[in-house]
Symmetry: C2
Subunit: 722 residues, 2 copies
């Protein structure tokens, strides 16, 4: 029987060998790597070892460090992290990914938006952002995300001020201040049911899908709770300069700009006690943290090395001052995340910085509106208001000649309030904020305006994302503008063909923080004394408590760019008499300001009351809670007239101030006004908007609104000025 | 022995079973897919079968088609193409990928740039673009790529006009015209040593790395030569309407917007004969091709099904009028390539079109300068001129107060000549092109300019990529501008903080195609008669052959936006006397035009000669080959003065024309002029530039240049106008 048995056994063994051989051929002899991709866990040989440093394959660390430094931990150079690492299995198509970011102040709020844009550009999963913010950042980001309306993105806010006591006892020298340290308390701050989160610094830019990063959670061993990339500088080796004493770390330590946190395991492991204990111990001999939370994370990891899962270097390419990142990126085929962790940020010196800067600038200038795209096949609750908006847009008739007007009125613009650092004015009962709106072509007015108006201003700027950056550089380069903390700039992002003038005015108006507002236009320069004079007048006239009034600031115009701005009413009248100044729109449209009664103003010594007349559109000072501008008026025409009409309907008294004046500077006609003049369709649409406005007025004010009917029915001449 | 033998055999069999089971568990029972990733070839069961349709797994075709249509070819729905497809092994890090595109005319040239931008954004490999172009596209794209200077991109051009005879015999009804058919002759047109190429239509947008597409070549069987995605409409089923008779195809047929071509195999298989034979045969019964090359490719494939390798649907998501693409994209986790293959392009009706449009708009508006990033670790020959440029930039001192000026002068701007369709003017010996430059804030001048100047114009526009699209829409919306085919618009892409005024002028000047040019500025409107008058004057004065002259067009200005433009010199003089017009810069800087001698001009009946004097900057008509503007003058100041000085140095006679005039319209001061006025540094830098200009002038003209020294040494007053 042996002969029969043996061949069978031999046959089976041969088949087995063959299979093994086949397996070897098919999987390149690197089953470990393949297995990793399929979810290899603790102890499995492969790319994600279950234990710390001494077993970390060098592939996951600084490339080439071995060859350069003789690092005893390093292995052969011929294994590229990108050969092994770049294609972990992605999370299921619609899995919700959680991201936590600490963000405080105006500048970090701008940074975080660039980070979020890069993340949204590549993402294919629904995201839940957990934002730990101070009051400033919350105010900005709440409005931003509300108006951004990105599908499949949820945002939760956590109050950073409440967390301060938990970390303020730690002396800290890092530029991120107290807020950096707050990453330590995320396990107790984020909802108890949240098990995993990716934690990001605000100076991070994604160059790939965040789902690939999330997928690395699958490689944590049962004990591992913190995924980190090695620190790409020699900081923790303590040899950067003489007497440099860094906090303790394993080897080069880890960088905490990108963290994968298993919150559940950290809570279970007593993280809250653990890091506090370590920090207190180290602070017995070290004066302060140098790198904020990162020092403490590293010290804890040195004590509990089992907690950490090292991540591939491409997930946190660190462009710090002493960066060794080139060893990582020069051999990787694919960069995933760029980290601007130098205090110099984009101005860091690095021979490849231009490359990385281009990447960053991509998202800095990227039109965020384009990220409003949904995810195919992932049902998600639409952003608040998005469904009604979709329905309203769907009901529009594309063949309607006024389609563009209707569409523009419905457009929800992304709004970034207080785009630049801003100090709210102290609370003063008669204070006045100048309110205006502008686009890029009026930036050159800002310096002059600042010289003429020393008080608070609230300005809405209609810009693309790229223009917002130009604007930022413009302000930084101007000593006059950079010195003013009381000017609030609110960026409203461009979308659609028509200028949404009244929506812009409403944004600026809503952000004014004083009891009164001066509703101006950007091409006017007020009298140097106007700010003080208005406050004094408001007090003297007893506005608010006793009188419901709109204070009229008489308007003039010059036809010359450069002229000697009058220092007083006397000087102004002299220029007027000399023909160097005119009353506003004297040549084109005197009706707009005639009711101000310039002849009476010449002689007036005290405020005088004037009556509303059709087409009246003076510049006025009113309480902050005045009626909003009607947002249906987009492009050119009727935007101020309708507002003044509504003030009259609400029985505001128009009081002309005898010493107040403001002067219009010349500029080329806007595209909108050119369009209005040349297009009968444009004028027809404006008439339709006026009709609808009057219907609403009648609905609101009843028979009293009949008074405005003749004014609304009279068509405007194309010759009319703006 | 049996007992000994059997247990062994049994043991081996058990081990075998265990191994099989293990393999099943590890690889999800889908060894085929895994094998495919490792390069499975002909006949291997898996995702890339070696044979045609009946064995194509449904995963690679329209998703869900089976369930929807009862397609007998379809399999179960639970296999997602993206589960199987998204991670083929990428080509080696620095492998050169070849791409061929047929492109003709102005509009396709714009399209192809958007395609290339999307490709460059995601690419990580060096690319060689093979562009089959007509003369117009070649002219545009050669200049574009030359000035774009993208590292690791090579471009070769092939003359489409030479290929026309090879395909012009085929009757064709498709909107792509003859050019679409040229894809058929690529195997004989591209270099014989080129074995593989990806062929793309111009209406393609990439949403992923083209290397992933290139990787699919690895799955071709030995006989396969053409990789294609199934056509995502029912067109070839012939049931779209009554009596619809499409060309023959296998099932739904294939779409040729994205093709992987094994050129070597096609040449070997006698492709040239093959497609001609098939086309001739079909044309015996069919009147013409409806879908150009695609009909012929499909007919050939129907006859030779072994040639085709079907590709996953995500590599050509077709948004045609009758698209079924939703079946593909709604279940895929990842879209790779979007194809706008409706004649309606972005206006195609589709409930998800907004999503795709946002993707497209991303690259339409993308700042192409940001794509000038190199590839890490892939040595490649730098683009022509790039090395010298890098060296020059590296030698600049960032601390130099004039650093921004120096950097701006060295900047090579991307240039897109004839951005819109343009008819070159017929060759006429005395014809004149108006040459000017502008940025976005002067667009509203264009219509008026067209009304005043009925002749050819060459205009350089300084725009961002996003603004170039706004400009396009602006022209399309203007009947006046859209009607003019003799106005050439050249887009120079913005880069850097200072306006490169003279570089812009030089671009416009270089593209003027008539023997004479009128060097104007955008805020001037010429007399209605000027174009005719100049041509007559050039002829009468015998310029060129007999006299080397610069004809001076006297300049005036109005301070009002709207005024009645004088129809004659008599009317102009009346307005001048009435104070409604002034000589140009009368108030701010009369020296700039004083040498024109306005008093003499009033009375002049014939052209008169005037002498050059310091600061003279008239608007002149000169031969096209006049000296270029000095590109060192960026921002505000000295840009025209230096040019006129050089004309004088070259002994041009300044001849004032008695009936010529041009009038400047008012506008707000530019940011550059405001900067010049407020910044002593700015003025200091301008003086430094002037000194260097004079050194060059001396080098060129020797002692004769001494004449200009006093003019160059005198500092400019900040009050000076532009």
């Amino acid at each position: 029987m042996l002969p029969r048995g043996r061949p069978r056994a031999l046959g089976a063994a041969a088949l087995l060998l063959l299979l093994l051989l086949l397996g070897f051929l098919l999987f390149g002899g690197d089953l470990g790597c393949e297995r990793r991709e399929l979810g290899g866990r603790a102890g499995a040989p492969g790319c994600f070892p279950g234990q710390l440093m001494p077993r970390v394959p060098p592939d996951w660390r600084l490339r080439g460090a071995a060859a350069l430094d003789g690092d005893p931990l390093a292995g052969p150079r011929d294994r590229n992290p990108s050969d092994c690492g770049p294609q972990p299995p992605l999370p299921p198509k619609c899995e919700l990914l959680h991201v936590a970011i600490v963000c405080a102040g105006h500048n970090s709020s701008r940074d975080v938006i660039t980070l979020v844009k890069s993340m949204l550009f590549y993402r294919k999963n629904p995201l839940h952002l957990h934002l730990v913010t101070d009051a400033v950042a919350r105010n900005i980001l709440e409005m931003l995300f509300h108006t951004w309306m990105v599908p499949a993105v949820r945002v939760s806010f956590y109050n950073a001020d409440e967390l301060k006591p938990q970390v303020s006892w730690i002396p800290n020298k890092h530029y991120s201040g107290l807020y950096g340290l707050m990453k330590l308390v995320l396990p107790s701050t984020l909802p108890a049911e949240l098990a995993r989160v990716i934690v990001l610094d605000t100076d991070i830019t994604f160059a790939s899908d965040i789902a690939e990063l999330w997928a690395l959670f699958a490689h944590f061993s049962d004990m591992q709770a913190i995924g980190l990339v090695e620190n790409q500088s020699d900081w923790y080796l303590g040899n950067l300069w003489k007497n440099h004493r860094p906090w303790p770390a394993l080897g080069r330590g880890f960088n905490t700009g990108v963290i994968l946190l298993r919150l559940d395991r950290l809570r279970h492991a007593g993280w809250e006690q653990m890091w506090r204990l370590t920090a207190r111990q180290e602070l017995l001999t070290l004066p302060a943290t140098s790198l904020a939370d990162q020092d403490i994370f590293n010290a804890v990891i040195k004590e509990h090395p089992g907690l950490v899962q090292p991540l591939p270097c491409v997930w946190n390419v660190q462009l710090s001052d002493h960066t060794l990142a080139e060893r990582c990126y020069s051999e990787a085929s694919d960069l995933k995340v760029i980290h601007w962790n130098s205090p110099k940020k984009l101005r860091v010196k690095n021979k490849h910085v231009e490359f990385f800067r281009n990447f960053y600038l991509t998202f800095l200038a990227y039109d965020g509106n384009l990220l409003r795209r949904g995810l195919f096949g992932c049902p998600s609750q639409p952003p608040s208001g998005a469904e009604q908006l979709q329905q309203a847009l769907a009901q529009l008739d594309e063949e309607d000649p006024c389609f563009e007007f209707r569409q523009q009125q419905l457009t929800v613009h992304r709004v970034h309030i207080t785009f630049l650092p801003h100090e709210p004015p102290p609370s003063r009962p008669h204070d006045v904020t100048l309110v205006a709106q502008l686009s890029m072509d009026r930036l050159q007015m800002l310096e002059a305006l600042c010289r003429h108006w020393p008080g608070p201003m609230s300005l809405a700027l209609y810009l693309t994302d790229a223009e917002a950056q130009q604007f930022l550089r413009f302000v930084e380069a101007s000593p006059v503008l950079a010195a003013r903390q009381d000017v609030a700039y609110h960026v409203v992002y461009r979308e659609g063909p028509l200028y949404p003038v009244n929506q812009l005015r409403n944004v600026a108006l809503a952000q004014a923080l004083t009891p009164y507002v001066f509703l101006s236009d950007i091409d006017f320069l007020p009298a140097y004394s106007l700010y003080d004079y208005l406050r004094a007048s408001i007090e003297q006239l007893g506005l608010g408590s006793r009188r419901k009034a709109a204070l009229v600031v008489p308007a003039f115009e010059t036809l010359h760019y450069r002229f000697s701005f009058p220092r007083s009413k006397v000087e102004l009248l002299a220029l007027l008499d000399a023909g160097a100044l005119y009353t506003f729109r004297y040549h084109e449209w005197p009706r707009g300001h005639a009711p101000t009664d310039y002849a009476r103003w010449r002689e007036a010594q005290a405020p005088y009351s004037v009556q509303w007349v059709a087409d009246y559109e003076p510049y006025v000072v009113v309480p902050r809670d005045c009626p909003r501008y009607d947002p249906r008026f987009v492009g050119f025409g009727w935007n101020k007239v309708a507002h003044i009409m509504e003030l009259d309907a609400q029985e505001f008294e128009f009081l002309v101030l005898p010493e107040a004046f403001t002067i219009h500077l010349p500029h080329a006609p806007s595209l909108d006004i050119s369009h209005f003049r040349s297009s009968p369709t444009y004028r027809g649409c404006l008439q339709a908007l006026k009709d609808e406005f009057h219907q609403d007025l009648s609905r609101h004010y009843g028979a009293a609104a009949l008074k405005y009917l003749p004014a609304l029915q009279q068509p405007w001449s194309p010759a009319r000025g703006s």
